[in-house]
């Protein structure tokens, strides 16, 4: 007869516990040890060198990407008129996923000129689907960003060029 009483007590204890939080606190009830290990992840020798650095941090300035833009020399001077137009186009067509101050659905364009070639950026804006299919870096970015495929916003060459000029100002 002792056992049932113990069980009953336990039951009440559980009930009290579950009722306890009137304040609906934000508390992670799921804890995985693997999430902690991320920091101490050792580079695996089996993968290619590019696997070690996340695609968003990789520097691929020699890669022009795949698409219609093959060679795009930039004027040393930033064209402010183009950049201003580009900022507007970016605001309307891109800010749903890209923020200049942080990583969002996709990477931030801040500092992109130090990582990617102008041609790569243009090709990515103009035909993201082709890039994801055929460009290694674009493909890795898709994986890194959770499979959120970049939308083709049907930009003209000029519009994409204005956006690129805007990126130079960031």
């Amino acid at each position: 007869m002792k056992l049932p009483i113990k069980l009953l007590l336990l039951f009440f204890a559980a009930l009290l516990l579950s009722c306890g939080g009137k304040e609906e606190k934000k508390d992670d009830k799921i804890k995985l040890s693997s999430t902690k290990k991320e920091v101490q992840k050792e580079p695996e020798k089996s993968g290619s060198a590019s696997d070690e650095v996340p695609a968003s941090e990789r520097i691929t300035l020699d890669n022009k990407g795949v698409g219609e833009v093959k060679d795009l020399p930039l004027d040393p001077e930033i064209n402010q008129e183009m950049a201003a137009r580009g900022a507007e186009i970016f605001k309307t067509n891109c800010t749903a996923c890209h923020k200049t101050d942080k990583r969002f659905i996709g990477p931030s364009p801040k500092g992109i000129m130090e990582r990617r070639s102008p041609e790569w950026i243009m090709n990515m804006i103009l035909d993201p689907q082709l890039m994801v299919e055929q460009d290694r870096c674009a493909k890795d970015l898709l994986v890194e960003f959770n499979g959120a495929a970049m939308a083709n916003q049907s930009m003209t060459f000029e519009q994409a060029r204005d956006i690129l000029e805007y990126f130079r100002t960031l």
Binding site: K91, T92, N93, T95, A96, C97, F104, I105, N146, G147, A148, A149, A151, N152, Q153, S154, M155
Partner: protein, 652 residues
């Protein structure tokens, strides 16, 4: 000898049998059915040769098919609410279904007709009629969306509609049921001599297609069943079949079939147009809705009109005549040259063909057989060009192949009969399955038909497909008509009840078909053109949520401060600018349908929350690999709550 005779007899019998078998293999199943399969086979990834627009009848909508494959591409909502896209449910499209009787969620869509220039299909718009609460709609063949609906006053059972003249000057709509004009409280038994049949001429703006009810010809109280425009030499005339010239008001089945001949009414609309332009006609007070959808604001607006110009046909000299036509004619079709007007006497076996030239001659020589309510009746023999003695029963509709042949459906004998214009000889006949109504040859109602296929639209399906309970979709058959003999090549189910259809070559429309709405052309008053404009505003108990979407999130996706009893409008702008990436929206417990928002478009969905809680919404169209993540929450607090409005995306 007896034995020899017997043997000889057997040999003859065997020979006959062999010959029979031989014939069987020549014209029969094996070789031909494989060639039929080749004719309709459109390989994966390839596209059809023709568009076909089949009316949906009591579905109220228009369906788009490919020929020769018989594959259905789309259902275009016109007169009926359509939860698939939210048409008639979204705030923007509700006005499209407004009428003088208030909001009507449905109609009976009968006859599509593609716009023409110089008598040839030009592929700009397709016009259709709503039969029950008389309306005409214009559907854009660029967006494949309903852009305009105009109600027709003084009309009832809007059936001899919507047929367009050869330069799309007018879309013409005739009443099937005559009614008191203006409507009033009177005895039904006083029908005869008192009811009127209104034939409406709706002008079409050549630039934007906008419709305007220019005038109505107030005809005697007959039933105006079907109609077609003149073309070529007869351009400027329009022909209507009539029945119930008895003017019976009850047991019509018997009482409307007493006269041996009814009429085809020939209307010289150019003369009436001139009369009206010179100040003729009488303005009459009335009430009807005119609903226009603006492609840039993505919004329909309904305007009530209160006047119509009516014309007494007896006041316009030489404008209206009656051509006696046997046996309650149904179909009234005009051949590509415009010379022949074919009346299909549905209670007879024969077709009556009138000659336009003979008609003009009879008018010039005043060969009248009498008059009906002051309208001259021409002598039957003087206008009749020929009779097709078909041997079939119950002729209904005729289309043309542009090579001198006509194809007529016979409802009672379930067949399509091919005959030759001019000689009136029957060339071929093929059964349909079953009880065929209309038929359609692409361009078959124009100066330039594309006579490769004819589609027969049947009223009865029975054993054609696997049974699906008592109700089955109507069957259609495709025949190859490129040779001398028609060949049945395919059989496919339709949607609703197709009455008429219209078809055209694919290249006329495919390259103009719009892919997206441009975000920078979006003039919707509640649009958000960039996500930073997304916000929530309260005005009393009305809350406007300005929301944007792109693969795969809503901005904002967390909203608080909504209260029980609020009227919450979700105004959602799809920021995609890529072909075929719509997003959907639906809210739990919402008393309406979802909405489907095309790239660059804004649509509005109303939600009136009744329960406190945290309620999710989500995207209904599988949009990307992260579609399942495309969702959000709205917190609903008690009506008395003072929680401030707040909204966010991706913030802690």
């Amino acid at each position: 000898m007896k034995k020899i005779k017997y043997l000889f007899g057997s040999l003859v019998a065997l020979a006959v049998m062999l010959a029979g078998c031989n014939q069987g293999t020549n014209s029969g199943n094996g070789a031909l059915s494989s060639s039929a399969a080749e004719k309709v086979y459109v390989a994966p990834g390839e596209q059809d040769e023709f568009y076909a627009f089949l009316s949906g009848g009591y579905s109220g909508n228009l369906t788009v098919y490919g020929l020769p494959s018989g594959r259905m591409f789309k259902e275009i909502p016109v007169f009926s609410q359509f939860p698939t896209s939210g048409y008639g449910y979204s705030e923007e499209t509700k006005p499209m279904l407004n009428t003088s009787h208030g909001f009507i969620p449905w109609d009976d869509l009968h006859h599509p007709d593609i716009s023409q220039t110089n008598g040839e299909l030009d592929g700009r718009w397709i016009f259709v009629n709503g039969n029950n609460t008389p309306r005409i709609a214009r559907v854009s063949l660029k967006t494949f969306e309903t852009e305009e609906i105009i109600e027709i006053p003084n009309s009832a059972g809007n059936h001899s509609s919507a047929f367009i003249t050869e330069n799309t000057e007018y879309v013409i709509a005739g009443t099937r049921f005559s009614v008191p004009v203006p409507q009033r409280d009177m005895s039904i038994k006083e029908y005869k001599g008192n009811f009127k049949g209104a034939l409406s001429f709706i002008s079409v703006d050549p630039e934007n297609g906008r419709m305007d009810l220019k005038f109505q010809v107030m005809m005697p109280g007959f039933n105006y069943d079907l109609s077609h425009p003149g073309r070529g030499e007869s351009h400027g005339w329009h022909f209507f079949s009539t029945y119930n010239t008895e003017e019976a008001n009850s047991l019509m089945e018997v009482n409307s079939s007493q006269n041996d001949k009814d009429f085809i009414a020939a209307i010289n609309w150019k003369k009436i147009e001139e009369y009206v332009n010179n100040g003729g006609g009488t303005k009459m007070a009335t009430n009807y809705a005119h609903n226009v959808y603006d492609e840039h604001t993505h919004t329909g607006t309904s305007t009530m009109k209160n006047e119509v110009l009516t014309v007494d046909p007896t006041k316009v000299p030489d404008a209206v005549f009656f051509l006696p036509t046997p046996k309650s004619p149904h179909g009234c079709d005009v051949d590509p040259s415009g010379e022949y007007i074919i009346g299909a006497g549905k209670l007879s076996a024969d077709l009556t063909i009138h000659s336009f030239t003979k008609m003009l001659d009879a008018i010039a020589n005043k060969k009248f057989d009498g008059e009906a309510y002051g309208i001259p009746i021409l002598q039957y023999e003087d206008v009749m060009a020929g009779v097709v003695k078909s041997g079939g029963l119950g002729p209904l509709h005729t289309e043309f192949d542009g090579k001198g042949n006509a194809y007529t459906t016979f409802f009672i004998s379930s067949e399509v009969v091919k005959w030759e214009l001019g000689t009136w000889e029957v060339i071929d006949r093929k059964p349909t399955y079953y009880s065929v109504g209309h038929l359609m040859i692409p361009g078959g109602n124009s100066r330039k038909p594309f006579g490769k296929y004819v589609v027969a639209m049947n009223k009865i399906t029975k054993d054609r497909y696997l049974p699906t309970g008592p109700e089955m979709e109507h069957s259609a058959q495709i025949y190859d008509i490129s040779g001398d003999k028609m060949q049945l090549i395919y059989d496919f189910p339709t949607h609703g009840e197709p009455h008429y259809a219209a078809g055209c070559p694919a290249e006329l429309l495919a390259s103009n078909s719009q892919k997206i709405y441009r975000l920078d052309e979006n003039k919707h008053p509640y649009a958000v053109t960039n996500p930073s404009e997304a916000r929530v505003e309260r005005d009393g108990n009305v809350v406007h949520i300005y929301m944007s979407t792109i693969r795969s999130h809503f901005t904002p996706d967390n909203i608080e401060g909504i209260k029980v009893g609020d009227k919450v409008y979700f105004h959602i702008t799809n920021h995609e600018q890529d072909f075929d990436v719509p997003h959907g929206f639906s809210m739990i417990g919402q008393n309406t349908s979802e909405i489907l928002i095309m790239p660059g478009q804004t649509k509005t969905s109303l939600w009136e929350p009744k329960k406190v809680g945290v309620w999710p919404f989500y995207c209904t169209d599988f949009c990307s690999a992260l579609h399942q993540e495309m969702q959000g929450y709205v917190r609903v607090s008690p009506a008395s709550s003072n929680i401030e409005l707040s909204w966010s995306l991706g913030e802690d």
